[in-house]
Symmetry: C2
């Protein structure tokens, strides 16, 4: 168990290191008014804290820096909530000022603002389309042998796919097909689409449409081709401005990682309400060993839609980021719900 004095010293040490990025020494600490002890006393306490694994030295005679365990303790027990400044509030509001015409645009803007406010990199995971339900199908022929299939979901998302039309398919065939699809598949989850299409709808289509085989091979493949979760970044380059990434090797690793969208999802906790923090090697990715990730999620109505994350160095301003992320995810959820669920 830590004494009150140890708690204080740990807290002040972490706070100071977060601000200056320099190892903090006992002399320096004792100058602060919150810490009314002599350097020698502080040294003793710091030595204890180091023994317990909360602090580390970079070399024998350096000041101390927080260890991962130290950050974890800080985050879990010493993080006092903070009210967002009115200026931050204003900035966040500004995302929703303009008329919203595309959810993607709102999400992109959110990413940018979050990154600007924090000076870290933000990542927003777009809605997981596969959870949405079909609201309407539509098919628009482009030429005599190609067409666009369009699925509108209940969340207002629009998916579109090109596919080949079999030779000799008539306009009325297509019309019939669209009608059948809409009758049969409205309300089906997108991840169930393939199954539903094959089981229930196939027979009906076969009955009414000429060239059924060819059509389904091309249309079915188009419609069920994987829908990836879109990833939006804000301020990819912001991370490079922090001193921990002055090492080009590390910087490269991070930028490369961000280019590979498939790795990104591992950064996010399994969708769960509330704020989650992963510190350093708690992220499984090797490139992230010097980074922390703070995640939140946004919803439409009661439904989980997507996630928001801020990536910064382990030495990041946890308090501020948590505050902003909490605020932002709430506002984003509220606004998206308002727009899509109606009821003004």
């Amino acid at each position: 168990m830590l004494t009150n004095r140890q708690l204080l010293i740990l807290q002040v040490t972490v706070d100071d290191f977060i601000q200056t990025a320099q190892p903090v020494g006992s002399r320096q600490l004792s100058k602060k008014e919150e810490v009314p002890f002599s350097p020698a006393t502080i040294r003793n306490e710091m030595a204890d804290l180091e023994e317990m694994g909360y602090l580390e030295k970079t070399h024998t005679s350096s000041g101390r820096i927080p260890s991962e365990k130290g950050y974890r303790f800080y985050v879990d027990h010493l993080l006092t909530p903070q009210l967002a400044s009115s200026d931050d509030m204003l900035q966040i509001q500004s995302v929703f000022q303009e008329r919203i015409t595309e959810t993607e645009q709102v999400i992109q803007k959110t990413a940018k603002i979050l990154s600007d406010l924090t000076s870290y990199t933000s990542i927003l995971l777009g809605p997981d389309v596969r959870k949405h339900r079909v609201k309407r199908f539509s098919i628009v022929p482009l030429s005599n042998d190609s067409a666009v299939a369009i699925i509108i979901t209940d969340s207002g998302h629009v998916e579109n796919r090109l596919f080949q039309l079999p030779h000799g398919l008539t306009a009325s065939d297509i019309e019939k097909m669209v009608n059948i699809l809409n009758e049969q598949l409205t309300g089906v989850h997108l991840h169930d689409l393939q199954r539903a299409l094959e089981k229930e709808t196939a027979a009906l289509l076969k009955q009414h449409i000429g060239r059924y085989g060819e059509l389904m091979s091309s249309f079915g493949a188009a419609i069920t081709s994987p829908q990836e979760e879109k990833v939006f970044y804000g301020g990819k380059s912001k991370l490079l401005h922090h001193p921990e990434f002055k090492d080009l090797q590390k910087a490269r690793g991070l930028i490369t990682m961000m280019d590979q969208a498939n790795q990104i999802s591992t950064l996010f906790s399994p969708n769960q309400a509330g704020i989650h923090i992963r510190i350093g090697s708690e992220n499984t990715l090797l490139e992230m060993e010097d980074c922390s990730v703070i995640t939140a999620s946004y919803t439409i109505g009661e439904e989980q839609m997507g996630s928001i994350a801020i990536i910064g160095p382990t030495r990041m301003d946890y308090r501020r980021v948590v505050t902003l992320l909490d605020l932002m995810s709430g506002d984003l959820s509220r606004e998206l719900t308002r727009i899509l669920r109606g009821s003004r």
Copy 2:
């Protein structure tokens, strides 16, 4: 006018520097079999070439490196075309192997392959949507006061926008509206949409639809809100692996620039067929003074669609990139045309 020997030495110097990234000295050059002269002779010629501005020294007693003028001359006069290796051809073909269900996906894949093949960063400008024509309108209500408007273009592109429905608008109102829109606006260029909507279609809508004013304010704004050209990157981090960007300052500048999509368009020549090369400060952007950009464009049928660019250090392998870009832009055009214009 340059003598043949000077041409040879300039070419070999540039080639060698492109490969090694080290200033090339006279001794080193004279070892190559293409250059049957003694170091002293080469020194004299190099001194002349330097006087004429084609070569530079990094310090008094260093080897020579090409100046921008040197690269320009090299690119304009010394670049002998090269056949792509069959392995490169295969890689490029692989983009089009799978069934194409989304043009964006093809473009994204193109970006990746180009970047992988060249080890530089690629940028693809998506189609300029405003040049496309309306093929079909569609409106899908989401709740009692919001709806999605969808525009399908003749190129198979799908734009969608959220907008607010005035209270009390009936389903048949919407149906009428969609019919009018399709009758009146099919074939109109997207950049003309606002004008066309206001001039020709407004009166008709006013006549048939209740709540006309509110509807048009929200629908009109949604429909005509700016459609940006989408930018696709391949291998953003690739640039960081080249020695000219071991300086963190420069690396940061580049990454930051790539995050600001608005600056990107200045890198592209006004849409023009063929391959264009901009060397170092020929790019107006300050961050790009150590980079060269090679651009090409792709078409659907005869129509310019978008552009492809490769960004590398000024010391880039111009010959290889030009070859690959030429090949890729041709294949991409052909494939997109085949898919969208039909006629198999």
